[in-house]
Point group: C2
Chain length 412, copies 2
C-alpha cells in the first residue's frame, strides 16, 4: 500500500494556487511548506540578506548553512526585497494582491509594518485573504517556549521527582499554529471561490496553545479539580509507561483499550497476578480508569518481565501478542534504522543546494497509498528575478535597475 513513490495529480491538489508568505521562524513557514508540498506556488519574501531565522540552528557541519531554514522552506520560491524602500514595499504589495481566483492570498507574521496590514492591502484587492500570525492576540511577541510556560504544560511535564517546570523541546505550538493557519486559509479560499468575499483572519500562538489544551478538556479539568500532579512517563488517564530491558534499552508500552490490556497480561503471563489484585483491591482493570489509578502497581508487576529480556526478545514477544508499544530510540538511531528500510518510508534523502545530500522527509500525506518526493528549498533570493518578470510582468531591464538601486536582492 504505502511503499510506492510517485507524483499523482491528487498529490498536487493546490496546483495553480499562489500564496505570498511574509513570515519567519516556525509557524508561518511550516504551514506554507505544507501548501507547497500540495502543489501551491508559495513565494516567500525576505529582506535582503534574510530574516532573523535565516541562519538558525541546526546548521550544517559541511557548509554552515541552516538545516532548519532549508527544511522549513522546501518547495517554495524565494524573493529578496529591501522592505525599507517604498519601491520594495510596492513590489511586495503587488505580489500579495495579484488578481485572479488563484492569487490574492497572503500569510504573514509582521509587526509594525502598516503597509502590509489588511487595511492597506484590501485597498488594492477587495477580496484579499490574509492570515496574520501573532504571538499574543494583542500583538505582543511570544514564542513557543513562552506560551508553553503561560499555559501550564511545563508544570505537568517530566519526572515526578523534578520540582521545576520542564519545557518541551518540540515547538509543538508553532507547528500546530502553522497548520491551523493554512486550514483557516483554505477554508476562507473555499468561501471566496463561492461568494467572492475575502477574509482577514488572525491567530495568535498563545491562543492556539490555550485552545489546544482546552480541546483536550484540560482547562475544564484544572477549573474543576485544580492542578494535575506531574507523573513522569505515565500516560494520563489510562495505562502506559516505559520499562527498561535487560540490555538497557527502554520501551514505551500502552494499554488504552481492554483488548490491548488483555494482550499485555497474556504475553507477560501476569494474568493471574492481576486477577488476584482485582479481587483483593475490588477493582476491574479492564476499566481504563482503574488501570490509571493503579498505574504504579501495574508497572511494578510488569517491570521484572521486561528486566529479564533483551529488547530483541521483547520485540518478538510483544509484536506476536499485538501489544501496543515502541522502543525508544534517539534521533540518530531513528535516522540510521530508517536508512536501512528499502525506499518507501516518509524519511528520504534530498539534494539541498548549498548543503548537499540531507536527510529529509516526504509529505506524510499519501495519495492512494503513494508518497511524493520532496523538493529542495531555494537558495535565499534564488527566484527574485524570475518572480518579478514572470509573475509581476516586469521588464528584465527594470529588474536589473532594481538590483542596481538595491531595491531587490538575490541571484541575478
Amino acid at each position: 500500500m504505502s511503499d510506492d513513490i510517485g507524483d499523482l495529480p491528487s498529490h498536487r491538489p493546490l496546483q495553480g494556487l499562489r500564496v505570498l508568505e511574509c513570515s519567519s521562524f516556525v509557524a508561518g513557514p511550516s504551514g506554507c511548506m505544507t501548501l507547497a508540498t500540495m502543489g501551491a506556488d508559495v513565494i516567500r519574501v525576505d529582506p535582503i540578506g534574510g530574516a532573523a531565522d535565516h541562519g538558525r540552528w541546526p546548521v550544517s557541519n559541511r557548509t554552515g548553512e541552516s538545516l532548519y531554514w532549508s527544511a522549513l522552506n522546501r518547495g517554495k520560491r524565494s524573493v529578496c526585497v529591501d522592505l525599507r524602500q517604498p519601491e520594495g514595499r510596492e513590489l511586495v504589495v503587488s505580489l500579495a494582491t495579484l488578481p485572479g481566483p488563484d492569487a490574492g492570498v497572503i500569510v504573514d507574521n509582521n509587526v509594525g509594518r502598516p503597509w502590509l496590514a489588511y487595511d492597506a492591502l484590501v485597498q488594492r484587492r477587495s477580496d484579499l485573504i490574509q492570515v496574520h500570525i501573532q504571538g499574543h492576540p494583542d500583538g505582543r511577541p511570544a514564542v513557543d517556549y513562552t506560551v508553553n510556560a503561560e499555559v501550564g504544560v511545563p508544570d505537568i511535564t517530566g519526572p515526578a521527582s523534578v520540582a521545576e517546570p520542564v519545557n518541551h523541546v518540540l515547538p509543538a505550538w508553532d507547528l500546530l499554529t502553522g497548520m491551523t493557519a493554512v486550514t483557516a486559509l483554505l477554508s476562507a479560499l473555499r468561501r471566496r471561490d463561492r461568494t467572492g468575499e475575502g477574509s482577514f483572519l488572525s491567530l495568535a500562538l498563545a491562543d492556539v496553545a490555550l485552545a489546544g489544551v482546552a480541546s483536550l478538556g484540560w482547562l475544564a479539568e484544572a477549573a474543576e479539580r485544580g492542578d494535575r500532579p506531574r507523573h513522569g512517563n505515565h500516560v494520563y488517564g489510562s495505562f502506559g509507561v516505559d520499562f527498561a530491558t535487560l540490555d538497557h534499552h527502554r520501551v514505551m508500552v500502552v494499554a488504552l483499550t481492554s483488548r490491548q490490556w488483555k494482550n499485555l497480561r497474556d504475553v507477560t503471563k501476569t494474568d493471574r497476578v492481576f486477577r488476584a489484585l482485582e479481587e483483593a483491591l475490588q477493582v476491574d482493570l479492564a476499566v481504563e480508569t482503574d488501570r490509571y489509578q493503579l498505574r504504579e502497581t501495574i508497572a511494578a508487576v510488569l517491570r521484572p518481565w521486561f528486566a529479564a529480556r533483551t529488547v530483541d526478545e521483547v520485540t518478538q514477544e510483544l509484536d506476536a501478542a499485538q501489544v501496543l508499544w515502541s522502543r525508544y530510540r534517539t534521533m540518530a538511531e531513528a535516522v540510521k534504522e530508517l536508512a536501512k528500510v528499502p525506499d518507501g518510508t516518509v524519511v528520504t534523502q534530498l539534494e539541498q543546494p548549498g548543503i548537499g545530500v540531507v536527510t529529509s522527509a516526504r509529505s506524510p500525506i499519501r495519495s492512494h497509498g503513494v508518497y511524493t518526493e520532496p523538493r529542495a528549498a531555494p537558495r535565499l533570493g534564488e527566484n527574485t528575478d524570475e518572480v518579478l518578470t514572470a509573475v509581476l510582468g516586469l521588464d528584465p531591464h527594470e529588474v536589473s535597475r532594481l538590483h542596481d538601486r538595491g531595491v531587490i536582492g538575490g541571484e541575478r
Copy 2:
C-alpha cells in the same frame, strides 16, 4: 482589535459542507472539531454506547462525564449506529457517500472495517474524498506516546541530569495529525470543486512525527552530527532559559533577536559584564550562535538579577524594557487569571449538556479581529434521529423500527 465576540459569515467559511467523521481519540476528532468551528456540519458516528474514547480522562467531578470527549466534539452532531449489523453499516456508507459538492467527504481512523475502506466507498460515489488516519503507514496501531518514543524527542526532553527518556505530556503529534488531515481534506475539496475528481488520502501519526522533526532540520542534524545533548529548559540554538525570582516564581526569558538580547542586557544592567566577556572570550553575543554556545555563562550572569526581585518587580521591569519573556503558571493559575480578564480572551465558559458550565475555549482563529462563541458537544447519539430523517431522508416510522431492532442508538 481582539476583544470582540461575534458571528460573522467569515467565521463560518465552511457553512454547508458536510463531513462524516468515523474516528476516535485525538487526531481525527480534533481536526474535525476545527472544521465544525468553521461552520461545517460534522456528523460523528459512534458505535452504540460510544467508542473506546467516550469515557476518557479527564472526567468531570460533577457528573463523571468525560471533559475530554465533550471538548473534542464541540459543535458536531452525534449519531449512534450498530456497526456490526449490515443495516447499520449501510447507514454509515450512505452518510459517507451523500451526493452533491458539499458532501461525500469522510475522515476515519478505522482498522479492519473493509466496508468503510475507500475501495468499497468509491463504488457508491466515484468522486469521494476520504482522509484515513493511521498509527503506522502499514496499518499497525500507534499512539502519540509510542511515536514520540520512536522519533527520538524524549531523548532530548527534560533536565540534563535525567538519564531516562522524558515523554512530553501534550499529545502534540495527535493534534498536528488532526490539523494536517483537515488541511489535506480542504485541499482535496478544492481540487474536486474544480476538476470533479475525488481523492483517497492517508496519513499516519508516525509519519507526521518523522516529517515534523524533519521539517525543523532535526533529522538532517542527527544524520550529520549525531545526537544533540539534552539540555533542560534552554532554547536550542539561541539564548532562552528559565529563572527563579525572589518569591519563588519562575520565568522563561528568551533572546532570539539581537534587539531582544540588547533589551535584556540593558534592563538587567549587565551590558558591561557581557562586553568584558565578549572581549575576554573573543565572541560576539549579538550573534545567536555565540549566545547559544555561552548559554550557561549568560544564564549565570543574569540569575542574580532575577533572584533579587519579586515576580511583580520582574514583570514591571521586563515589560517596560520590551524583553521577550513569560511567567510560568500552572493550568489552574492560568484558568483563574484568564477568568479575571474582561470577556474577550480565547478562553471562555460554555454550558455543556451532561456536565454543566465548563471552562472551554473559542476558536483561536479570529475573523476581522473578532472571536466566535464555541458550541457545546452533543450528547452521545443526540442527533441520530434528526440526521437519519433530515439528511438521509428516512421516514420517522422507519427510524423507529431501526431503534427497535437495535440498529441505531441514542435519543429517540
